[in-house]
């Protein structure tokens, strides 16, 4: 299904009411000078339309950080029914839609996860167009346009939003207020096309991804992994912020009440030393180099499993949230491909200026101090 409509930006309030009629609305909200977060909102004035990436991706609405799966008491073990609510996630960019597409594959594969699916089914996804910044590389990963399972997608065409309608839920919503929406005029179709052409040319970070899995195999013993891994803090920031990191830990939590307790699923990270630790204190990935390389492989090559997909969607969250500057996927790929690239670890070797992280937040190319400006 793909139909289109438009509505005027200055009537966004009414569109917002329409979304609210479906369920509770979540949208990016500014939480600091540079950071945003998907939060529950009551008014469109709270929405940070300029947000490119939120701290946590929208996976948090479906794959919860902390969730009881089973409970036990005197009468036995019980499945915990997932708590769901009708909800709208507004302002999801193409990379995050692609990320949810990968999460959907993982959590609906047999055996399907009832908690994930129940929440996903109660949710309307409303996408929003964006313009890339220096950390965006969705184009390189082929996730730069909305292709996955969304309901509505809004493209900013000046004084109007151009709406792509992708699901029955989305269509029902649009048809419930027919006078509000217009059919796009020819000129508006053209503006829509022009927007995406302009956006396509706006990417400053790019690499060719065709041979990526092969290159990841070839470069398994590259010095890059040692250089970067030895800087790794093992803080795990790269995994909660990743739209497709789906790993979890299970813990049994006893209650003070006799014979009662819960089995709880919590987000985990392959960057923590305990993640690959097994009986006998054996660890498959004992050091930060092993763990970092493992994570890069999952993102750019995929596991040897039925999904087998590279799971990076090019959102740039890991690059932005790594305190050590080592999750610089674009430059790592370019380096592995033997192309011009700058890595944070080059600084030591060349003693060049700037923070070396291509962070863009300081004058990397011109400053001679170490500190971020």
């Amino acid at each position: 299904m793909e139909r289109t409509a438009t509505f005027k930006k200055d009537q966004f309030e009414q569109f917002f009411c329409l979304l609210k009629s479906f369920g509770k609305v979540f949208a990016p909200v500014r939480v600091s000078e540079k950071s945003f977060s998907f939060k529950s909102i009551e008014s469109p004035s709270q929405i940070a339309f300029e947000a490119l990436r939120t701290i946590l991706p929208p996976k948090k609405f479906f794959f919860q950080q902390h969730e009881p799966i089973l409970s036990y008491d005197e009468n036995g073990i019980h499945e915990v029914k997932p708590e769901t609510q009708q909800q709208v996630i507004f302002g999801v960019h193409p990379c995050d839609l692609a990320g949810l597409g990968i999460m959907d594959k993982v959590y609906t594969a047999s055996p399907p996860d009832p908690h994930y699916i129940a929440r996903r089914q109660a949710t309307m996804l409303v996408g929003l167009s964006c313009m890339p910044d220096k950390h965006c590389f969705c184009k390189s990963m082929g996730t730069d346009s909305p292709t996955s399972d969304y309901d509505l997608f809004l493209t900013d065409i000046g004084d109007k939003y151009f709406v792509q309608i992708h699901s029955a839920n989305g269509l029902n919503l649009i048809e419930s207020m027919p006078d509000f929406f217009s059919r796009p005029e020819a000129q508006e179709d053209q503006t829509f096309k022009d927007f995406w052409t302009t956006r396509d040319k706006a990417f400053s970070s790019h690499f060719e991804s065709e041979n990526l899995p092969a290159i990841m195999d070839m470069e398994w013993n590259s010095q890059v992994w040692d250089d970067l891994g030895n800087r790794c803090l093992s803080c795990g920031n790269c995994t909660p912020v990743c739209p497709t990191c789906y790993c979890f830990d299970m813990v049994d939590v006893a209650s003070l009440h006799a014979n009662r307790g819960e089995r709880v699923r919590e987000w985990d990270s392959c960057q923590f030393v305990g993640f690959a630790k097994v009986a006998g204190d054996t660890n498959f990935r004992p050091g930060p180099v092993d763990r970092l390389k493992f994570w890069y492989r999952h993102k750019l090559h995929g596991f040897e499993d039925p999904h087998g997909l590279p799971t990076c969607v090019g959102c740039g969250r890991c690059t932005e949230s790594c305190p050590a500057g080592i999750d610089d996927i674009v430059n790592v790929v370019l380096r592995l491909q033997g192309k011009p690239s700058i890595l944070v670890t080059d600084k030591k070797k060349t003693q060049a200026g700037g923070c070396g992280t291509s962070c863009g937040d300081c004058q990397c190319d011109t400053a001679d101090g170490d500190q971020h400006a």
């Binding site: 939480v31 600091s32 000078e33 540079k34 950071s35 977060s37 939120t54 701290i55 946590l56 950080q65 902390h66 030895n230 800087r231 790794c232 803090l233 093992s234 803080c235 795990g236 920031n237 909660p240 912020v241 813990v251 049994d252 939590v253 006893a254 209650s255 003070l256 006799a258 307790g261 987000w267 985990d268 990270s269 923590f272 030393v273 305990g274 930060p288 932005e320 949230s321 305190p323 050590a324 923070c355 101090g369 170490d370 500190q371 971020h372």
Partner: protein, 269 residues
């Protein structure tokens, strides 16, 4: 239940598990947290001994769980600890002092015990003091629940597990995870604050960064902390290496870790 094999009809005082709460050298922060949450424990345990909070305490009887706060910093701390250990089925070290030695170990590492004693209490002080050490340097510790002070939820969970004869699960993942889950803006990245979240064990819920302050490591090290990488990153942000070292180890850490990091960082510079 720990005491379920006791015959029915005995006094409540003998049929439900007993706990003891002791403080060695520390600020009593843990004792306060336990006291504040005692109401929730009372239905399930009998408080055999808690000198900080009650006047009538059993001295020489076995207890099921002994919670011990504070470091061993005086000879009589050690005497008490050995006695507590001998009487306790489970010994739980509570708080950074008991688990890692806290500031009296970490912050005082480069000072002699004698000069500290003299500066604090005068040269003719009758007080005897030892270099501060965590409980595990002297006795077997069954559960290490760090914190400064400890987190009440973790305290209740630890007690619940021990009442079922389970060793409790206590997170040793870094503060960064809890910080990210709260979707805090990263103070290390956005503000260049010397945040120790990456190398510090979670459990606090990333309290300091949530209020815009840098984590200063009060929970002690996370599992296998990457201290050298942390030092490198702070140094690149312009922090002096001496300051970095004193921050990294202010709250106590295993001696091997301190020695390793000192050696590696000295070799580097």
């Amino acid at each position: 239940m720990l005491s379920s094999n006791m015959s029915k009809g005995q006094e409540r005082s003998q049929t439900i598990p007993s706990i003891a709460v002791h403080g060695l050298t520390g600020c009593a922060g843990e004792l306060l947290v336990i006291l504040e949450n005692l109401e929730q424990l009372i239905p399930y345990v009998r408080v055999a001994s808690f000198p900080f909070a009650q006047s009538s305490n059993e001295e020489d009887r076995p207890v099921d769980i002994a919670f011990v706060e504070g470091s061993v910093s005086q000879p009589h701390d050690l005497e008490r600890l050995l006695k507590i250990r001998a009487q306790a089925r489970w010994l739980v070290a509570v708080g950074n002092c008991a688990v890692w030695g806290c500031v009296q170990k970490g912050g005082c590492r480069n000072q002699s015990t004698v000069s500290l004693l003299h500066e604090t209490y005068g040269e003719d002080s009758p007080i005897e003091c030892l270099p501060a050490t965590p409980l595990q340097d002297h006795v077997r510790v069954d559960v290490k629940l760090s914190g400064c002070p400890i987190n009440a939820t973790q305290l209740l969970a630890v007690t619940a597990s021990l009442l079922r004869d389970h060793l409790p699960y206590i997170t040793s993942k870094p503060v960064c995870l809890e910080c990210k889950l709260r979707e805090n803006a990263c103070v290390l990245i956005e503000q260049n604050l010397p945040c120790l979240g990456p190398v510090t064990a979670g459990g606090c819920g990333a309290l300091c960064p949530t209020y815009g302050a840098a984590c200063y490591g009060c929970w002690g090290p996370c599992e296998q902390p990457q201290m050298e990488a942390m030092a490198t990153i702070l140094e690149e942000k312009g922090y002096d290496m001496q300051e970095v070292m004193s921050r990294l180890f202010a709250f106590g850490a295993p001696d091997e870790l301190f020695e390793r990091v000192k050696k590696n960082l000295t070799a580097k510079s």
